[in-house]
Amino acid sequence: MSATTHSADSGHGHAEASKFHIFVQLAMILAVITGVEIVLIYIPLVKWFIVTSLVILSLVKFMLVIFIFMHLKWDKLFCTILFFIGLVLAGGTVAALMALFAAHDSIPLKAQEIYAERAAAAQ
């Protein structure tokens, strides 16, 4: 395990105090990002751009919380590996499922019916 994680900031009053500030600042940043996200959806931009930005922003929030609130940044690397095994597999699985169900062969019959009805009604 990495020995460098044995950082100087644990156990010393001074460093702890600074962590207090880090935490508070982080909370502010998170609040701001959330605000940006909410504003973003009302801005008339191309869809893919907004979606990408939203995904990136929530990813940033996600990572900030894990690494700072959850202390991963200061902890042994092993904790990070452990958690990311689950996170990466879960992310991969979600992505694979989305790809599978978005495929043409997977369009549900019910949806096809609804689309057909709607097309008929539009005429």
Partner: protein
């Protein structure tokens, strides 16, 4: 492999009795969270898969969702995460009093989040979105409900941790008292939740904070108000410890593990907020 921390300085994150220096409880929690990723991954997948193509009786989601409320509860949950981080921080420094305050704050914010969710569910049901009115309802309530259950378990855990900070150091009997403490908490939470939601309801029917609202509030929720008030007093009484307590720096890892759970529930919400709520608006 074996890290021998410098003698003397208290090392909160490394436990010398374990091979890696990571405390067992913390490692356990991280492993559990890895597992929980798959858990929510499967739930979120279900929701998204059913959003890919039309399903019958598709509701008017934008007419149902309330972005203000959701943003507010998101904000609340983020702030509760801050308080949780501070609770861990203070506990590591051995400030039991500060830890208790932070724990109570986290509990309170968690409860506000839950209240928002109860309110939201109620509201949505009134607007016709129920668990089985359509597929969106099913996946939405299952996903956010499961998350809510996670929050509720977190609140319970926080309460238990809070109560535990009163365990006397001299080993004198304490279970009964702790149990009473827990019951009082339960009563306050239930009654308080009812009063709170009643208050919101009164505000809504009276269109604002005015005399009518207040009288409506007292008319409908008097028992809840009284019970929660009495309960609160009891809580304050129970929360004054005269004896020395056992709880201290050594428990930091317990608080920290609980914190990991709480933050995780928070990041899950970050994802849900984007994927379930925000994406609907585009």
């Amino acid at each position: 492999m074996s890290t021998h921390a410098a003698a003397g300085a208290i090392d909160h994150h490394h436990d010398h009795t374990t091979t890696t220096g990571i405390p067992n409880k913390k490692l356990f929690m991280w492993a559990f969270l890895a597992s929980d990723c798959m858990f929510f991954g499967a739930l979120i997948s279900t929701h998204l898969i059913y959003r890919l193509h039309e399903t019958p009786n598709q509701p008017d989601i934008l007419g149902i969702f309330s972005l203000e409320l959701t943003s507010f509860s998101t904000f609340i949950l983020l702030m509760s995460s801050l308080l949780m981080a501070l609770a861990v921080n203070t506990c590591q420094k051995g400030h039991v009093g500060a830890t208790r305050k932070m724990l109570l704050g986290t509990i309170l914010f968690g409860l506000i989040f839950l209240a928002c969710q109860v309110y939201e569910f109620n509201h949505f049901v009134h607007l016709g979105l129920t668990l089985n009115s359509n597929m969106f309802g099913s996946t939405f309530y299952t996903l956010t409900g499961t998350h809510g259950v996670h929050v509720a378990i977190g609140v319970l855990w926080l309460v238990l941790m809070y109560i535990r900070t009163f365990k006397p150091a001299d080993g004198s009997p304490w279970i009964l008292k702790s149990f009473i403490h827990l019951l009082v908490f339960a009563v306050v939470i239930v009654a308080g939740m009812k009063a709170l939601l009643g208050g919101v309801h009164a505000l809504q029917t009276a269109h604002g904070l005015n005399g009518e609202a207040i009288s409506l509030f007292f008319e409908h929720d008097f028992p809840a108000i009284v019970v929660s008030a009495v309960g609160l007093v009891a809580l304050v009484m129970l929360g004054r410890d005269r004896k020395a307590v056992e709880f201290g720096e050594a428990n930091a890892v317990d608080v920290e593990s609980m914190g990991l759970y709480w933050h995780f529930v928070d990041i899950v919400w970050i994802v849900i907020f984007t994927v379930v709520y925000l994406l609907e608006y585009i």
